[in-house]
């Protein structure tokens, strides 16, 4: 351990080389993965609160028949923004932010592969999210559901700019998701610490890697179909206009080719979180590591073959429906393997403490199993026809998405908050948060199964009395309010613990992965010495991944650790075995990512006003890209090591 901290000269030099700028310049130009990752997560949590407020408004409107809390127009905007926010502005960006923050720390790297691309992705995300909510503020929010079906969203049925905001800003958001996916893949494949071969990678990193590949292949479908709808609406194209030879069903095919993998894009990182948390609290390596990884891979592949189960009612041939029904049921097998792996880990481990991260992980297992069971029911075509577009579907996907993604996200927040902030979240408040949220969730969503069976359709802003839906709807609203209470406790806990929580120390949970070997929060450079990985659980298997010490390291290894040229050196390793191949110089802070994001905003947002702004934005983007790639030294200037060393 002493090799990590015993060299103050090295610490000062690396701190200076890797330091983000200060003040407003830091806000505009920082590219450090921890700064960008934290920004993603905090922004996503703000969007979560907004989506939660919309959900409460929806539930209050439905608490009793014929209420007038929200007008039909306001209700349409609220449920559209709730869905769009949860899918596009919260779950995926939060998990990306978590990955951007954690992956370099987990693989023993000092930075992501493309730090400026990282910053660009964040600015795009922020601008798209703020634009959507800016439109909401002025009454121009999208209002046709989060999947924006044509022909309802065609210019003939929905004139005005509400849908234009959806198609342009969601496409813009996908740019952010795609660049994050590329940089995560390249970071994982090319910047792992020497020795961290693929079979030694943490399960969380595996899950993020598979998720990133899914993003690469799924998100283009949404970009394409959004682009087509934008062209239909803004430039008179006819992709979805049946009268001119187009086909509205094309939208559904392309949307769900993205949409169903997107469910697993939100789920797989959560699988990675739970597979990380449970072994730490059970004090044993994850049972069936290889099976869990292969299962995640199988889920990733199979998820591209099930999109039609969202479209059973459009009138396909029965043979086709049978194929997609079988594929949908098949996906339960790898999911079940993962669940059994977690149960086996708990069963054979020494569960010493059920802290809040573990509580949320256990809650995830329960809710995800329930959501999975209704998923098997929905995969059956005759059943699906009966409950299509009813509240049963609302119940199912909330069990899968809130249970399968939001609960693990809370587990992740409670687990890694000490690493990010250096302070622990309050455990008592954490328990309150869990139980309020868990009980509230089940009270809110379990009755929806029954209401769905009784025939209540989705997306109605009110209903008539006497249909038998009143009591259960009221119960759902009570559950939503209890969930909201849990969220209040959570926010209070976050704010209070951030300001005055108990100091965490570097490794409060006794973790097995490399991030727990750094200080909390980590220094600018992450690792003083580049670690050498000799096992799957580096901190449990090998207490000294920093040996040999700096003095005895060969030159190539010492150089990686020392930044002798005052540049941001990072090791490049081979994709499979992680053998050192070379050094990469990582870029310093830059304004170009923000410029590029703003330039593309001129194109995307400007298209709503006039298509002439599209080339203007692209021209500005070209200038940004030239500046971005202009050769420069990337060296820290004005650093005088002797002066710094003289400081007390």
């Amino acid at each position: 351990m002493t090799t990590r901290t015993a060299d103050p000269t090295l610490h000062r030099r690396l701190s200076a080389v890797w330091a983000p700028p200060k003040g407003i310049w830091r806000f505009l130009t920082a590219v450090n993965h921890r700064v960008v990752g934290l920004r993603f997560m905090v922004t996503a949590l703000v969007f979560l609160l907004l989506a939660g407020a919309e959900a409460v408004a929806i539930r209050l409107q439905l608490a009793q028949p014929m209420l007038g809390i929200l007008s039909p127009e306001a209700y349409n905007q609220a449920f559209t923004m709730h869905g769009s926010t949860m899918m596009f502005l919260f779950a995926v960006p939060f998990l990306e932010g978590l990955a951007i923050y954690l992956v370099p720390l987990m693989v023993g790297a000092r930075e992501m592969a493309f730090p400026r691309l990282n910053a660009f992705g964040y600015w795009v995300y922020l601008i798209a999210g703020v634009s959507l909510y800016g439109a909401y503020l002025f009454g121009y929010a999208p209002d046709s559901g989060w999947y924006n079906y044509v022909p309802l969203t065609g210019i003939g049925f929905r004139p005005g700019v509400n849908i234009d905001f959806w198609v342009t800003m969601i496409t813009f958001l996908e740019v952010s998701a795609l660049v994050a996916a590329v940089e995560i893949i390249v970071t994982v494949l090319k910047h792992r610490a020497p020795g961290m071969s693929l079979d030694r990678m943490p399960v969380f990193v595996w899950a993020i890697l598979i998720t990133s590949f899914m993003i690469v292949f799924a998100m283009p479908a949404l970009m394409l179909t959004s682009l087509m709808l934008a062209l239909d609406r803004m430039a008179g194209f006819h992709f979805f206009n049946a009268a001119a030879g187009g086909d509205p069903l094309l939208w559904q095919h392309l949307f769900w080719f993205f949409g169903h993998p997107d469910v697993y894009i939100m789920l797989l990182p959560a699988v990675g979180v739970v597979s990380t948390v449970i072994p730490v609290f059970c004090r044993r390596p994850l049972a069936g590591y290889t099976l869990v990884v292969v299962s995640a891979l199988a889920i990733g592949i199979l998820s591209f073959g099930v999109w039609v189960h969202h479209m059973y009612t459009v009138g396909f041939a029965f043979v086709g429906l049978s194929f997609f029904a079988a594929a949908s049921m098949l996906i339960t097998i790898p999911s079940a393997i993962q669940i059994f792996a977690w149960i086996a880990t708990i069963w054979n481990g020494r569960l010493h403490e059920i802290a809040t991260p573990m509580l949320f992980s256990l809650g995830f297992i329960v809710l995800f199993v329930l959501g999975g069971i209704t998923g098997i029911m929905i995969a059956a075509v005759p059943f699906n026809w009966q409950i299509h577009d009813t509240y049963f579907i609302v119940a199912h996907f909330h069990y899968v998405l809130v249970g399968g993604s939001v609960f693990p996200i809370f587990a992740a927040i409670y687990f890694w908050f000490p690493k990010v902030v250096g302070r622990r979240l309050d455990e008592r408040l954490g328990s309150w948060h869990f139980w309020l949220f868990f009980i509230g969730f089940n009270v809110a969503f379990f009755p929806m199964h029954i209401i769905g069976f009784e025939g209540m359709p989705r997306r109605v802003y009110t209903y008539l009395p006497g249909l038998g839906w009143d009591g259960l709807n009221f119960l759902s609203t009570v559950g939503a309010l209890v969930m909201a209470g849990g969220m209040v406790v959570f926010v209070w806990n976050l704010v209070a613990s951030w300001r005055g929580g108990a100091p965490a120390g570097p490794d409060p949970w006794g973790g097995n992965t490399l991030e727990w070997s750094t200080s909390s929060p980590p220094e600018n450079y992450n690792f003083l010495l580049v670690p050498i990985v000799r096992g799957r659980n580096p901190l449990w298997d090998d207490p000294s991944p920093w040996e040999p010490s700096l003095e005895t390291r060969p030159r190539w290894l010492a150089e990686l650790s020392e930044a002798p040229d005052l540049r941001r050196d990072q090791v490049v390793t081979s994709a499979v075995t992680a053998e050192p191949e070379g050094r990469a110089i990582m870029p310093r802070p830059s304004l170009w990512p923000l410029w590029l994001a703003l330039a593309l905003t001129v194109s995307f947002l400007g298209a709503i006003a006039t298509l002439y702004l599209v080339p203007v934005g692209l021209a500005l983007a070209f200038v940004a890209l030239v500046g971005w790639h202009w050769p420069r030294e990337e060296k820290l200037v004005g650093y005088n090591e002797e002066e710094v060393n003289d400081e007390p």
């Binding site: 394409l224 086909d247 990686l560 090791v571």
Partner: protein
């Protein structure tokens, strides 16, 4: 893994005084990996676009719609061949630049590549100037114009990237530190040419089959 990662392992510097190389190329260079994944994203989008074309085509009896002539093949084929040839000079430049004696290969070869790609653009512009339907006419027109516009946009992108790379090469930057950048440009250029070929097959062969 005991100590096998330390000197003495194949592929790892064995002399304790050795440094790891700084200017990486090929599969060792992260930028090349980044461009490969960018290409994968765009290739997925192109494939889905072509599938969408076939999906809409299967939904109607007559393709192109009645009254619309089938697309001619001669000039589009010539344009496509020019585009397919256009990455070759970059590839030659990259091979030549391995030899320090021919450092001037990229500044000489990149303009030839740009000239070939510009020929494709000129033929495309001429072809669409002659069209008697627009994207607003019918779904066939929407697909035809949008796919060509997308291909043209990408050719313009590689032309601009080629121009910037040419400017860097005249400053002597490529040979010293940015050969991976030239490799990345070549990968993207080849993708643009092959992607355009996919659209060519879809737009020009499907209507006559």
């Amino acid at each position: 893994m005991s100590r096998e990662l330390l000197p003495g392992t194949p592929g790892v510097p064995s002399d304790s005084s050795d440094s790891l190389p700084l200017h990486l190329e090929g599969t060792r260079a992260p930028i090349v990996w980044g461009v490969v994944f960018l290409v994968l994203i765009e290739a997925t989008l192109l494939c889905l676009w072509a599938v969408s074309y076939l999906y809409l085509r299967m939904g109607v009896e007559s393709w192109p719609p009645p009254g619309v002539a089938r697309p001619g093949l001669l000039w589009p084929t010539i344009g496509q061949l020019l585009l397919l040839l256009s990455p070759m000079p970059i590839w030659i430049a990259l091979r030549s630049a391995r030899d320090p004696a021919s450092d001037d290969a990229p500044p000489r070869m990149i303009p030839i590549a740009m000239l070939l790609a510009s020929g494709y653009l000129a033929l495309k512009a001429w072809e669409y100037w002659e069209k008697d339907y627009l994207w607003t006419s019918h779904a066939y027109g929407s697909l035809d114009w949008s796919m060509s516009a997308y291909a043209v946009f990408h050719v313009i992108v590689v032309l601009l990237a080629g121009a910037v790379m040419w400017a860097f090469s005249t400053r002597g930057e490529l040979q010293e530190r940015s050969r991976a950048g030239l490799q990345a440009l070549l990968i993207y250029w080849v993708f643009v040419a092959l992607g355009s070929l996919l659209f060519f097959g879809t737009q020009y062969l499907v209507p006559i089959l």
